[in-house]
Subunit: 385 residues, 2 copies
């Protein structure tokens, strides 16, 4: 088995171009991971992901543990075989979902007790069981259980929470080291909106020695400039020879800004969830396909896009399908958005390799414009997170 | 432009093997038309239909007229370009949908007035406007407006209704003849459950000379043996040199039984709608994927099926996606069911060509078994019809 390894191929200012080697293939970075929360990128199949340029997908430990269960997935040959995706898979720890989805959670030193959002059953997740679940899934990159704080939180609350997350990380690290099966454990850097706590988080997380570092606790309601500032601070402190993953981010300009600050890896539900709400991304900014101005528009979403939706269909047709609530609309808009996100990452990799990333960044942001439309509100019943 | 033409290639008992020639390509018969009610076979794209073996699809005049509107579709280059399907398309007349979906309809000699189920607007459909709508759509096979009666109906009611349908047919025929654009007008044979009325319907419809004949008013609640008997009666009276289309039928054994009685063409929402309700078809009968017995089943739906769902995924995975309400489940189960229906038609064509249809029929019905599971109840909000 190929050991997990990150290769830094080049930089352009703060931006990095690299490559993650995994037992299941390469991931060129900066990379975006489409989100397969429950073992499927909603409305797509593996061939769609490959066609769109995906090299790695993210799945969700919390969701797969509750349904269908990690033991079932292990019994059926692991998550890759279960979902017929032979490329690398990264799982987050489920800490965020315990925070956002479960009812009646109680955080204790030992772990977190909560009621399942699926069936109301009482569940307990510890740093050790979280590693064990991800071991059963057989994925390539795993995460330690962490505590996610709502924004805003006081410094004292954040410090207490960070200390717990760091103690949990040490336990996860030990549980993983006992039987690592070639899985790469990434450490999660928390610390909220406090620079000092972020510094401490980096120091103590890096001291343990992880295969990669994930920046957590952002995109949870803080202002965008604050998110960029913390990303810059944390990325600047992390070792250059490990990949840096900014969890749950974000909008297309966020990806460009975070790459400029040295981030290598992203995931976000935005391309998939927003597609289902009728929002499609283009180099000139997002469009809301339900708008009346597209009723008779014969143009594709984006004339330069190579996705199936843009090669075959007009905005008028896609709007019609969306208004008529046809399932094909969700699929086509999702295909487009995932293709857009993955194409943006490929363009950034090329720009960094060619040492023209600053110009690319300026041109992209200028053309994309200031987003005048916020993304749709999340649907509380939506399981994609 | 190739004129519409039906070529009877061979028979085996009552079963017929043939070929419809249209300006947009051949259709080998017996054929099944996947249902693209609103201009999309729910969850699928044209490449999926081709991969499953579709040569022709059905679209719905009523639905496309109300939304997005036939003028819009004409302006965008016709239905084929709109939905990016370059093969033949057949539209039904919308008579059935006026009956089943609209509120407050009033049938008059001139036509039918009703309230749109989309926006509550008052609409009027006449035999002439129905032809005009289908002309604007630019499809290959069109249908005259007819009146659909609920089952059961008295003989007097049925006779009155049939007489109106025949007068409307004559008007549609005249409207079509004035400017036919190479579209083939099929005549619809009504007459309810009354043999005498069915005979009269065939006589008067055939006397007008249509490109094909459609058997309407079945699969609306009558017992299956009665449906088979009327199909046999009507098919036996129709001219051999025109295609016969049994509208809205049906379950896999119904297709086999109707082919045995001389039917060439079918459409039904069953493969697509039932997929969305978790029912999948196999040579050994239908399965309900949500059943607990499939929780850990590593087998595909059907080991002999070549569809993407069966090539890549286990029943356990498909069940998981279905239970988790993942959109990918609807797509994969739909792909499977459409592949199954189209594969069944291909197998019947081959059996007829090889003069072994009776053996095929007996073996199919024996293996399929008596259906112990009824299909799921239709969802009243579902627009696929």
């Amino acid at each position: 088995m190929v050991a997990f390894r990150f290769e830094l191929l080049g930089t352009d200012g703060g931006a990095r171009h690299g490559r993650m080697h995994t037992a299941r293939g390469l991931v060129d970075t900066p990379a975006f991971m489409p989100v397969a929360t429950q073992g499927s990128v909603k409305s797509l199949v593996p061939a769609d992901l490959r066609a769109a340029g995906a090299q790695i997908v993210l799945a969700n430990t919390y969701h797969l543990w509750l349904r269908p269960g990690h033991e079932l997935i292990r019994e059926l040959g692991g998550l890759h075989r279960f979902m017929a995706w032979d490329g690398p898979v990264l799982t987050d720890s489920g800490g965020f979902q315990v925070w956002s989805l479960s009812r009646l959670r109680t955080v204790r030193e030992e772990g977190v007790e909560f009621r399942s959002h699926v069936d109301g059953s009482l569940r307990f997740l510890s740093p050790e069981s979280c590693v064990e679940i991800q071991r059963a899934l057989g994925v390539d990159v795993i995460h330690p259980l962490d505590e996610c704080l709502a924004h805003p939180a006081t410094e004292a609350e954040t410090e207490r929470s960070l200390a717990l997350t760091l103690r949990w990380l040490a336990r996860a690290h030990a549980a993983h080291a006992k039987d690592d099966r070639g899985q790469a454990l990434f450490g999660i850097v928390q610390g909220g909106a406090y620079d000092g706590l972020r510094r401490r988080a980096v120091e103590e997380t890096v001291a343990l020695g992880c295969a990669g570092y994930s920046i957590g606790g952002l995109a949870v309601g803080e202002p965008t400039p604050r998110m960029y500032a913390i990303t810059e601070l944390v990325a600047g402190l992390l070792p250059a020879d490990r990949p840096r993953y900014l969890m749950g981010v974000g909008k297309p300009p966020d990806l460009v800004e975070a790459v400029a600050r040295g981030v290598d890896l992203f995931d976000c539900v935005m391309p998939t969830r927003n597609a289902r709400n009728g929002q499609v991304f283009t180099p000139a900014g997002p469009l809301t396909i339900s708008q009346a101005r597209f009723t008779r528009d014969p143009a594709p979403i984006d004339a330069d896009c190579r996705c199936e939706a843009c090669r075959l269909f007009s905005r008028a047709y896609l709007r019609h399908l969306f208004m008529a609530r046809e399932l094909t609309a969700y699929r086509l808009l999702t295909l487009h958005n995932v293709t857009f996100y993955l194409g943006l990452m490929a363009a950034m990799r090329e720009a960094i390799a060619d040492a023209r990333f600053p110009a690319f960044r300026a041109r992209f942001l200028d053309r994309y414009g200031v987003e005048s439309q916020g993304g749709p509100e999340p649907d509380p019943a939506d399981t994609e997170a």
